[in-house]
């Protein structure tokens, strides 16, 4: 494992102490118990846990019906039906509980403030017409939208709200990826807890290549074929640069010193070290293009998306290219004309995409899951269950959420299963993971225990029924936006449903009604990225009013009505 710079005097007060602790451990190799005496504003977690009498689903081996997992200084020290519990351990009675490896989201932007990647590099992702202040890219030599030096690990924000949401839903680990541009940057495997330095498990864990354009018709590449040609040229340039550097190294006399190109150096490294390189492709033709681009560039391709991979599962298995399956199954657009005849290809994709995991499994292909644009872990589990209904064995589904991604990204020696010596990223549930009534009771990230977050909501029972459709009008200084809610409220006031905006759809999470007040959160599409929007308000008869908070940055008032009601 690569050790990373530990920065002193971090701007984040909360991160400083953790970093100091980590440094102390790294430098001195001393037991952390010594640090317990240091003053602290938060209680220090104990370094030892033992979860006993629990059902243990190890993933790597058989299920242990009643056993113990011992956690020590962030690692799994022992697992089995008959293991010694250290005297110092905080013993947790796991009766009726099941311990799983923490879930691993195979491709995400967790911990990254979205749209902060890319930056103002030459020809980088530009405005609608490549205008504004963006320089125009005149060809491959301008390295358009190419920022392989951008590293997710350098940009982690432990305050990203999604980390806690994902963790509470059972995810302890993720591949997180800068997502702007063509060669967007270096992905990292992160733990979903701790400060920015502690979160990093492996970096770089992968390189990410999209089929995006440079932005605008005046910047190269402006077409899909331009992007494909560009990526081929970039890899050819990287290989040439490596060959030239090697020749110069061997005999510099009479040769010009190689020029350093930050857009090439990481690509050269990725070729030399065989980094997994993620290419995107959902339709059969796109998947095949991704596989072929891997062959043409010599990159170690991983294909992500794969909704139509059910058609070519055997071909993918034979190619040996690992597949990341997007669990955000295709749906008919909510704004589609209900009278319009849906194309056969679209119907097939919607009907058969969830059979992809079962087909890949049967074909013996290497695959793992990722959450795509799904807004909550609950939806992830629901959509995994759809794949299980379509024939994917549950143990294969669990593997695709744990050891599968760990293997693809080269961290299976540390993550993905419950084995002595691995990182203690674990979850404890009160039932089978894929039973939708099951709750995640405890989450361990790097051996630290995270409690369920207290729901921030009033507890009074609802006095109004919000079930049904609502149309909200949100006014911001720049525009007025209309959004549609389709809600269902249960007796205890839990609110679920969907939100439809002119920029896309989202599922409501953390929804509640109490008295005549309500609140919910949605990860809303906002022009190519998503933003967390928190709605709170009150209901009066057939009208609602309240405030929408956009990513905690600004708020807008909204009003709304039930459309067509009583007419």
């Amino acid at each position: 494992m690569k050790l990373h710079d530990v920065h002193h005097g971090s701007r984040r007060g909360r991160g400083t102490r953790g970093a100091g602790l980590a440094l102390a451990l790294l430098v001195a190799g001393l037991p952390a118990a010594a640090d317990a005496q240091q003053p602290s504003d938060t209680p220090q977690p104990p370094p030892f846990f033992a979860i006993q009498n629990a059902r243990i689903v190890t993933v790597s081996g058989p299920v242990i019906e009643s056993g113990t997992v011992v956690i020590s200084f962030g690692l799994i020290e022992a697992v089995g039906s008959n293991v010694l519990i250290p005297a110092e351990a905080w013993v947790i009675d796991g009766s009726g509980m099941t311990v799983y490896p923490g879930l691993f989201d195979g491709l995400s932007s967790l911990g990254l403030e979205q749209a902060q990647t890319g930056g103002d590099q030459a020809g980088g992702p530009g405005g609608v017409f490549g205008g504004g202040n963006q320089p125009i890219s005149e060809g491959p030599e301008d390295r358009p939208a190419t920022t392989p030096w951008v590293s997710a690990a350098d940009m982690l924000d432990p305050e990203d709200n999604r980390l806690a949401t994902w963790r509470e839903g059972g995810f302890t680990t993720a591949l997180t990826v800068p997502d702007e541009g063509i060669v967007t940057g270096q992905a990292a495997v992160i733990s979903l807890g701790g400060d920015a330095q502690e979160m990093i498990v492996k970096t770089p864990a992968a390189l990410h290549v999209t089929m995006n354009r440079a932005g605008g018709f005046r910047s190269f590449p402006s077409s899909l074929m331009g992007t494909i040609a560009y990526v081929k040229q970039l890899y050819a340039d990287a290989r040439h640069q490596s060959a030239y550097e090697a020749a110069y190294e061997a005999n510099p006399a009479g040769r010009a010193r190689p020029k350093y190109d930050r857009a090439l150096a990481p690509v050269q490294q990725s070729i030399a070290d065989g980094w997994p390189t993620v290419f995107l492709g959902n339709e059969v033709k796109e998947i095949r293009r991704a596989v072929k681009l891997g062959e043409d560039t010599g990159a170690r391709a991983v294909v992500a998306g794969a909704h139509e991979a059910y058609e070519i599962a055997d071909e993918l298995a034979a190619s040996g290219v690992p597949v990341l399956v997007n669990l955000d199954w295709p749906e008919r657009s909510r704004s589609a004309d209900p009278e319009a005849d849906e194309a056969l290809t679209s119907l097939r994709r919607r009907a058969y995409a969830p059979t992809t995991p079962a087909r890949l499994h049967a074909a013996g292909a290497t695959f793992a899951f990722y959450s795509g644009d799904l807004g909550s872990p609950r939806e992830v589990i629901e959509n995994v269950n759809v794949a299980i209904e379509k024939g994917l064995p549950a143990d294969a589904a669990l593997r695709a959420l744990t050891l599968g991604p760990a293997e693809i990204f080269g961290v299976a020696d540390r993550l993905g299963s419950i084995d002595a010596g691995k990182i203690a990223n674990l979850i404890v549930t009160d039932g089978d993971l894929f039973d939708e009534s099951t709750k995640v009771k405890m989450v361990f990230v790097d051996g630290r225990k995270f409690e369920e977050r207290e729901a921030e909501r009033p507890t009074a029972p609802p006095t109004v029924d919000m079930t049904g459709r609502w149309v909200l009008t949100i006014s911001t200084p720049r525009q007025t936006q209309e959004i549609t809610l389709d809600l269902e409220m249960s007796e205890d006031g839990t609110l679920t449903g969907d939100i439809t905006t002119d920029r896309g759809d989202a599922t409501i999470i953390d929804g509640w009604v109490s008295g005549d007040e309500f609140g919910f959160t949605a990860m809303q599409p906002m022009g190519g990225r998503t933003a967390e929007v928190v709605y709170t308000g009150t209901v009066e008869d057939t009208e609602v009013s309240g405030t929408a908070s956009f990513g905690g940055r600004f708020s807008s008032e909204f009003t709304g009505t039930r459309p067509g009601e009583g007419q």
Partner: protein, 457 residues
């Protein structure tokens, strides 16, 4: 799970099934029928050897094995016989200029986009592949757009509907590249965005400058590689290969005559200009596309060694297209040029037979000359005339059966074969519509969206 892929589906019609019609992704090549097929007693228009009344065509393993008067064509006992009485058979139509079946057409950001290739973005799911086959088309030259003086690399496909992108490509075809002259590459009719500097060139002389400079660069680049190869050959083990450049690689192929130039053009002056520039660098323009003023410079084009691919009667849609005449194809033919008619359109491609027929009305072309313009002539222009373009023994069994005389607005395609396999059949098409409706209903049921109360949730 249902996996039958499309339209012309498994078992659509018993005799179609009998000749091995199985269309699925990536499986096309493996399913070539091996039972001989005899089309018997039809009017066979060969395109190269006149018309045979009461003729028969025999094909097997995707190749034509016999053609002639019915009495002379013996069929093996196991042959599948199609009664051609009252019907017409022509070679598969070849469209020398198309933009169907591609997910991108223009890389318009740069004046020279020779590094990009339509072959990278073939869309095998584009239904226009099938619809063109329903119009008798079996080969299309899928071209990059005309936004650049030197555009991208083109693709030549066979209309093997159901094959994947690689399977559609015409194997072994000589590579081609798109050039463009006039209003499109100088962006006359395309407004830029506010605040965005317009792209060079903006004039016809600028277009020539871009092409000339590109070939100066390509010549230097070629010399660099030749120098490197010479050093390696002389035993220099320290030689480092020059940096490869996908754009210049394609232009070096043009210089070497290994990649054919198909240039979009309209006006006589720009046609002459381009020929001069090409001759400066020692290569030839293979085919002028559109070439609406070709009738004015047909002799010069013939002397240069160029051919022409034009429209029948489509003009005046922009200033540079005002001087067109419907006699263009006929005049160029009479001046000794190989002339083809193309569609440049996913609609017109379905009735190229009518476009050919128009040259008989305007210009007095013979039936054979008219038919050649959509069959053997485009085959020659694409250097594929050893494989396709006529009904001759040894050529690919790319054939079209018409219910009536093909060079007419009453013509209707009955069956289209590519490599001896049915890619369109009018009866199978009708049955397929029912199969599609049934599959849609089944899928909706599977999705729990059986249509009730006006719409689905």
């Amino acid at each position: 799970m249902r996996s039958f892929k499309i339209q012309i589906g498994r078992g659509a019609v018993p005799w179609l099934a009998a000749i091995g019609l199985v269309v699925g992704p990536g499986t096309h090549r493996a399913t070539a029928q091996d039972q001989p097929v005899l089309i018997r007693n039809a009017t066979v228009m060969t395109a190269t050897n006149g018309t045979i009344q009461n003729g028969s065509v025999l094909f097997e393993d995707g190749r034509i094995t016999a053609v002639g008067p019915t009495a002379d064509v013996g069929a093996p006992g196991d042959a599948q016989v199609i009664d051609g009485t009252g019907k017409y058979v022509i070679p598969g139509i070849i469209d020398a200029h198309s933009h169907l079946a591609a997910d991108a057409i223009n890389e318009g950001s740069v004046a020279v986009s020779a590094m990009v290739s339509i072959m990278d973005v073939i869309d095998p799911t584009d239904v226009n592949i099938y619809r063109a086959a329903a119009g008798g088309v079996t080969v299309s030259h899928v071209m990059h757009g005309s936004a650049n003086p030197i555009g991208g690399q083109n693709a030549i496909i066979k209309h093997r509907w159901g094959a994947d992108a690689q399977g559609l490509l015409f194997e072994g075809a000589t590579p081609t590249i798109k050039f463009a002259l006039g209003e499109n590459p100088k962006r006359s009719n395309f407004g830029g965005a506010p605040g965005v500097e317009p792209r060079y060139p903006a004039t016809r002389m600028g277009v020539m400058d871009v092409i000339r400079q590109a070939f100066i660069d390509a010549t230097e680049y070629k010399a660099k590689w030749e120098d490197h190869d010479a050093r390696v050959a002389s035993g220099d083990r320290n030689a480092i290969p020059p940096q490869s450049d996908l754009k210049l690689d394609a232009l070096v192929e043009v210089l070497n005559g290994e990649r054919l130039v198909h240039s979009h053009c309209y006006r006589a002056d720009e046609i002459l200009q381009l020929m001069r520039v090409a001759e400066e660098f020692g290569f030839r323009i293979a085919v002028f596309q559109h070439v609406l003023e070709g009738y004015r410079v047909a002799d010069e084009m013939r002397e240069h060694g160029a051919m022409a691919s034009t429209f029948s009667d489509w003009w005046a849609y922009k200033v540079e297209a005002y001087e067109a005449i419907p006699y263009n194809a006929a005049i160029m033919t009479e001046r000794g040029l190989i002339v083809s008619l193309n569609s440049d359109s996913a609609e017109e491609v379905r009735h190229l037979n009518q476009e050919a027929a128009k040259t008989m009305k305007w210009g007095g072309m013979t039936e054979d000359q008219a038919l050649a313009m959509i069959t053997i002539n485009p085959a020659i222009q694409l250097r594929l005339d050893d494989r396709v373009g006529s009904i001759e023994v040894g050529k690919d069994a790319d054939l079209v059966i018409y219910d009536n005389y093909p060079l007419s607005s009453y013509a209707k395609v009955r069956t289209t074969f590519v490599d001896g396999e049915v890619v369109f059949d009018v009866d199978a098409d009708r049955q397929m519509r029912e199969a599609v409706a049934a599959e849609k209903a089944e899928l909706k049921g599977l999705l729990g969206e059986t249509e009730t109360e006006g719409g689905v949730r």
